[in-house]
Symmetry: C2
Subunit: 341 residues, 2 copies
């Protein structure tokens, strides 16, 4: 390994000068700089990242703590985060499969000293608690957490409102028996979306039924199974709202297999608007989330905090969502304009 001292010797200057050249300090004379650069290239020198971050106390990387990493959603999210980070000269240290408090705590511990800031997505209730143990002024942005205390910067989706609007839309289309395939019970997004569903039913004076709330786990397979259970209900629902697109797609599959027409016999809607949604048969109505923008936004917030040393604004930001009405729920067009069937 060639070090800064090797370069300094070969270029007949001091290590300080080499360091200055590397960091584009203005205090170096043109010819000296050129000579040093040439030597550096010739020797194939590249600075040792660990040494540098030991003395600068900056790592130029940010940590990303994620839960189970399933499906298109996370690919989009990581893409959004990475592009923003790269644009600002930062690297990404990613740790996935962290769901509960214990593993998150371990992961946070392991990341200490490796990153300048953290994006933490911990949708399980209380899972974000270990974040409190981080050093006081360490920059953190929480993603889709139920950070009730408002002690952190956080970004959440307009889950409840989006779900409410979608279910409202279904009601406006004339549906009265509306089922929901819910996400994991211990998941913030899932419970919020469920609340939105309840709110919409309540607002319309409809009473939900326990039987029409079937649990899933955000995977296609669980949506498939849940839908089959719904089809066996005596009072079969005329519309199914799934907690995310993956489950909605599973449901579409179960309906197709059972020969149930969509949207004629049963309407279906999802949440997220993953890229796949519009290519379903029929194209899936869903609640659009700009996933990569979510990642980008979180990263900007974090880098802002990292850059100017400011830490917690303790600000919770809500990313709006929009209804995307395609054919899987019948009655195209704007919700309000749709006539009930």
């Amino acid at each position: 390994m060639v070090t800064i001292r090797d370069v300094a010797r070969a270029a007949r200057v001091s290590v300080a000068t080499v360091s200055r050249v590397q960091n584009n300090s203005s205090l170096v004379t043109e010819p000296t700089g050129r000579r040093v650069r040439r030597v550096a290239v010739r020797l194939g020198y590249s600075p040792h990242a660990a040494a540098r971050s030991l003395s600068t106390r900056r790592t130029s990387s940010i940590g990303v703590l994620l839960p189970d990493l399933y499906g298109e959603f996370y690919a989009e999210l990581i893409r959004g985060i990475d592009q923003t980070a790269q644009g600002h000269g930062y690297h990404l240290l990613i740790a996935s499969s962290h769901n509960d408090k214990a593993t998150i705590e371990a992961a946070l511990q392991a990341m200490r000293g490796r990153v300048d800031g953290l994006i933490v997505m911990a949708p399980a209730p209380g899972a974000h608690v270990p974040v409190r143990n981080l050093p006081e002024r360490f920059p953190v942005v929480l993603l889709n957490c139920n950070a009730s205390g408002r002690t952190f910067d956080s970004i959440v989706l307009a889950n409840r409102e989006g779900a409410r609007q979608m279910v409202h839309h279904l009601i406006a289309l004339g549906h009265r028996r509306i089922a929901m395939i819910t996400g994991p019970s211990r998941n913030y997004d899932a419970t919020e979306r469920r609340r939105g569903y309840h709110a919409a039913l309540r607002a319309a004076g409809l009473r939900g039924s326990r039987r029409w709330e079937v649990p899933g786990d955000f995977t296609q397979g669980s949506g498939f199974e849940a839908c089959r259970r719904l089809l066996n209900c005596k009072a079969r629902p005329t519309a199914i709202f799934a907690g995310n697109d993956a489950m909605a797609i599973g449901a579409l599959s179960a309906l197709a297999e059972a020969g149930v027409g969509v949207p004629d016999q049963v309407a279906v809607a999802g949440f997220d608007d993953i890229p796949m949604a519009r290519y379903m048969h029929p194209p899936l109505s869903t609640v659009r989330v700009d996933i990569s923008a979510l990642g980008e936004r979180a990263t900007r917030r974090l880098l802002d905090a990292v850059g100017n040393g400011r830490t917690h604004h303790n600000r919770r930001e809500t990313l709006p969502v929009t209804l995307v009405i395609r054919e899987s729920c019948g009655g195209r067009g704007r919700p309000a304009a749709s006539s009930p069937r």
Copy 2:
């Protein structure tokens, strides 16, 4: 920030002892160890990663260089890599959106000194070349690269063979006019799959047509467009083989929109077997790739090299693929047993 010296002072021992306790050295007395540990916890001490890796010359992380990060494929891949890495106490430094030689070179440069080894996925021709500039004994595993020189460890999919088998299957079902929606022309997997398609046609004495080879870019949208172009052909194909599942799904969507029955009027097949594939309507026949196993395998190979200092075995490993026949191409069951229609 609390350092090892703070702990040493508070526990009335030397820094060496604290370091030994942290690293579970056997040279520490039971009571001393306990005292140090207690103090460390009380002060909230955790070792500075950069300092440690400066003196140990190990970072406990591996770098992952990826291209454009689209869709379920990459979520699965990252999951496989991360789980294996975590299991061995390694972290993941991920950099995406690196396609051409120039950006890959920059990314490699940026990763130097930050990681103990690299997994590089560079499907564009020649994109893996900058890897040669890495230090001699630096562990690297290439993923799906056309590493012709065999100068590196690499893992590739049985792209050509898988494509050949699938097209052969379509031929065995009686199809004669078989189109292909190809991936990006400058992509290793894409060109290999295309070669498999050609090989199968040739083996059956069929002549392909330029018109039946429509380019896509591995996204659903491109599959959709490509399929529409195929539908406008005078001699419309009776089967469509897509270079990956995302494009196959786009094609299914275009066919459904055009009212063309699948598999009755046109058979469709894809490649990858992303989780979504079996939930399509009709369920998508495809070539199964165990994506997360691919990531796991690459990581194992890399960590093996990192661990025992051994570097390039210069061994190219091929991950087998298997046909998964579902309903989108008609004639279920084993390929050979299917009767032509």
